[in-house]
């Protein structure tokens, strides 16, 4: 067989794109072997493009058994040997090994970042048998034909070993932390209760949960303080306009009342009209965090969802590599080429053409840099298939932000009219946009609320139409949501841009937190309580950040992997000893917390009959069938019960029924669409549905 160059990519979609871009005719041969697809292409020489499936190798304990700790000895091994449920990866690795035998050159074309570099390195070292030193590296930020051809034509002569070393260390340190502390917690609970439940924590998970617990404690022990404000309105030619009192808040009720008394029914005089113009600079290009934050605030997408959508758009060559921390757009990406391409899309034609008329295009940029990739930008390629709504929204957002950064500053004018009423000042405020600038490119994602005021003159009299004292209370600190938590993690310097969103999902999966406006569960509280008492370092933001900084220094060759690993082990040893010594106490605390959390999961809401008990999913001892019952049943106080579907899973929705206000459940049965169940037989919505169905059947019968 003819020798070829073996190109390794990170994902199957990327392999297809790269093979298509590099094949002379753009039609590479698709080969499928044991459910693994790779591509054969022809260029200056034959090419075999084979994908990985994310990480195919992982850190694994070299000893046997899972029921003890500490464990500090590890090795890198194929994932199918380390993880249950990863069996299919064996054939994948075998195929890469087989293809490597006949290859004369090797190119790593995985994403150019820590994870991508590590994926490529592991395959080259282990599956291809030590080809990491001879392999070349393709570096690209988009999967467009132009950039891929360039990356193939001018590859880096060798892999970026500093990046790989940093990636290896990160995985190894995370493994050391995760496996040891998680095992300590899980085993403590299991040995005390005899029941198994996965409890986990880790280097980043612990401090993140700690932020949430600290915030939750502040909310739960919050005591509001009263204050008062004045709400007033003036009448201008028959229209009512709200005005602000000069003092926003009163700490004493009598002071607020005194103002109301002094101005009620009085006429005010315009003392001053002040106009101010200010420029608002265009936004900066998206890095991954900014994209996630914006998508959350505009569409309510969780950071993980946005990252996944953006990754799909990248694999379809619609946007550049999204996991970047850069806020810069270098001219090499070809601003005009992209805009010209975008102008072929009807929705962007007018805006892109307008920008193309500008003499010199200069983007507004942020301070953050990323040595591997520029900020997120559209490639200029148009979708080859109709995009799903969420994909379309993210793409549109990236396109419009890209255009907005080239826009001119917007000019806003604000106007403040000071009205003197019996010695008290009220402010009437107006605002309008004098010049849209960049805002027109970023519509509808920019809010431009204008408040237009009628023509007014200083000295003019205005009648105070309404004056009310408002009773108010200070509010507790806001709950974190996935987006603000991600921001907090970034500010505190814990985790990486690639892992933060997944970490938040893990906290949900472990049932340490619930709801979109994050609420910490009892289990979350207890985990932090145990760690705080016996293993303080694991939740220390300072220690985590220090370790993070050291790992980052490996990337620039200013720190060694061995030192970081040694330090991690030395830190872990005393913590694990402490955990072992207190195993019984910890086990008891955690087991009780797990039990509480399992009960909590089954509670549906307040009992609709007795109002004092809770409705809960229960199981009949006789028949083992599930039903809804009241917790007061056990005290012989309430006999309320409702039947439940016996197939599939039922989960409390914690949302009242829109028809009757009763608690609802989500039912999921394999092969059917999940549905919301209201168990109230007399629910008006059910009645409506029944009537509708009856009408339909009558209509059908009469038409027949």
């Amino acid at each position: 067989m003819e020798k070829y160059t073996l190109i390794i990519t990170e994902k199957p979609n990327a392999a297809k794109r790269i093979a298509q871009a590099l094949d002379q005719k753009g039609r590479p041969k698709k080969v499928e072997e044991k459910n693994v697809t790779y591509f054969l292409a022809k260029r200056d020489k034959p090419l075999a493009v084979v994908p990985a499936l994310g990480h195919l190798y992982t850190v694994m304990h070299t000893g046997k058994g899972r029921s003890y700790y500490p464990v500090f000895n590890f090795t890198w091994a194929p994932r199918h040997l380390a993880e249950r449920g990863a069996k299919q990866l064996r054939t994948w690795i075998e195929l890469v090994s087989k293809l490597a035998e006949n290859a004369e050159e090797f190119i790593d074309a995985c994403d150019y970042d820590i994870e991508g570099s590590l994926i490529g390195y592991c395959l080259l070292k282990y599956a291809c048998k030590n080809k990491e030193d001879v392999a070349k590296r393709m570096k690209f930020s988009t999967l467009t034909k132009r950039e891929l051809e360039k990356a193939y034509g001018e590859p880096l002569p060798r892999l970026d070993f500093a990046l790989i070393e940093a990636g290896r260390t990160r995985h190894e340190v995370d493994w050391l932390y995760g496996v040891n502390i998680s095992r300590a917690l899980t085993l403590a609970a299991k040995r005390w209760s005899g029941r198994y439940a996965t409890l986990s924590t880790g280097r980043v998970q612990g401090p993140t949960l700690m932020f949430l617990v600290a915030r939750e404690k502040n909310i739960l022990s919050f005591v509001p303080a009263p204050y008062w404000s004045i709400r007033a309105a003036v009448d201008i030619k028959g229209t009512s306009y709200e005005v602000d009192y000069e003092k926003k808040a009163f700490e004493k009720l009598i002071d607020a009342d005194a103002v109301v008394k002094a101005v009620k029914g009085k006429t005010g005089r315009i003392e001053e009209i002040r106009k101010k113009s200010a420029q608002q600079k265009p936004p900066i290009p998206f890095d991954i965090s900014a994209l996630q934050t914006e998508a959350y605030s505009l569409f309510g997408y969780t950071p993980r969802r946005t990252a996944n959508i953006a990754q799909r758009l990248y694999l379809e060559a619609l946007i550049s590599y999204p996991r970047t921390s850069s806020q810069k757009l270098p001219p090499e990406i070809g601003y005009r080429t992209i805009l010209r391409a975008l102008s072929k899309e009807r929705a962007y034609k007018r805006l892109a053409s307008e920008l193309l008329k500008v003499g010199e295009l200069k983007p507004t940029e942020g301070a953050k840099k990323d040595p591997a990739h520029p900020a997120v930008y559209p490639t200029g390629n148009l979708p080859e298939r109709p995009l799903f709504e969420p994909e379309g929204r993210i793409w549109d957002l990236v396109v419009r932000r890209f255009m907005a950064v080239f826009g001119e500053p917007a000019t806003k004018q604000s106007m403040r009219v000071t009205i003197n009423v019996n010695g008290h000042r009220f402010y009437l405020r107006g605002r309008r946009i004098l010049k849209e600038g960049w805002m027109k490119f970023y519509k509808p994602y920019v809010k431009t609320e204008e408040v237009m005021l009628p023509p007014l003159k200083e000295g003019e009299n205005l009648q105070l139409k309404e004056i009310v004292r408002e009773d108010k209370f200070t509010k507790p600190p806001p709950r974190y949501n996935p987006s603000s938590l991600l921001k907090k993690m970034e500010e505190e310097g814990i985790g990486t841009k690639a892992t933060r969103a997944d970490m938040i999902e893990t906290l949900y999966n472990r049932k340490y937190i619930t709801d979109e406006r994050i609420v910490v569960t009892d289990l979350g509280f207890d985990i932090i309580d145990v760690l705080r008492k016996y293993c303080r370092g694991v939740i220390s933001v300072k220690l985590t950040r220090e370790l993070e900084e050291k790992m980052e220094r490996i990337q620039t060759n200013s720190e060694k992997r061995e030192n970081v690993l040694f330090e991690a082990v030395e830190r872990l040893k005393p913590w694990l000893e402490e955990l072992k010594q207190r195993e019984t106490t910890i086990g008891e605390a955690l087991s009780k917390a797990i039990k509480r959390s399992r009960i909590q999961e089954r509670i549906i809401g307040d009992c609709v009959t007795c109002k004092t008990g809770k409705l809960m999913i229960l199981y009949s001892r006789k028949t083992r069938k599930r039903f809804i019952g009241c917790t007061n049943y056990f005290e012989n106080l309430c006999q309320t019960s409702f039947p439940l579907p016996q197939r599939g899973t039922v989960k409390p929705l914690r949302k009242p029924c829109k028809g009757c206000g009763w608690p609802t459940l989500l039912v999921k049965i394999k092969g059917r669409r999940p549905w919301t169940l209201c168990f109230n037989d007399n629910c008006p919505k059910k009645e409506e549905r029944r009537k509708r169905l009856e009408m339909q059947s009558v209509q059908q019968r009469s038409s027949k």
Binding site: K217, N218, I219, L220, S221, F222, V223, P224, A225, P226, Y227, E251, K252, L253, F473, T474, K475, P476
Partner: protein
Amino acid sequence: MKCKVCSREARNKHCELHEKAYSNVVQKFEIWRNAAGISWEQYLNELVENPSTGIWAKEVAEHLLKDKE
């Protein structure tokens, strides 16, 4: 020693969680008294009714009211 509010383990009158809430309840009374001129009992009732009061603070206020009875 058990917490007076929730029966969890406590060093003093309250467990760690309710201790923080208790100190907040006591501290904020001065602000309420100056602002609205209300009594301790009225204050506790206000806290129980107020939707912004945290659950632990509410539990402390309820317990203090019950104690008075």
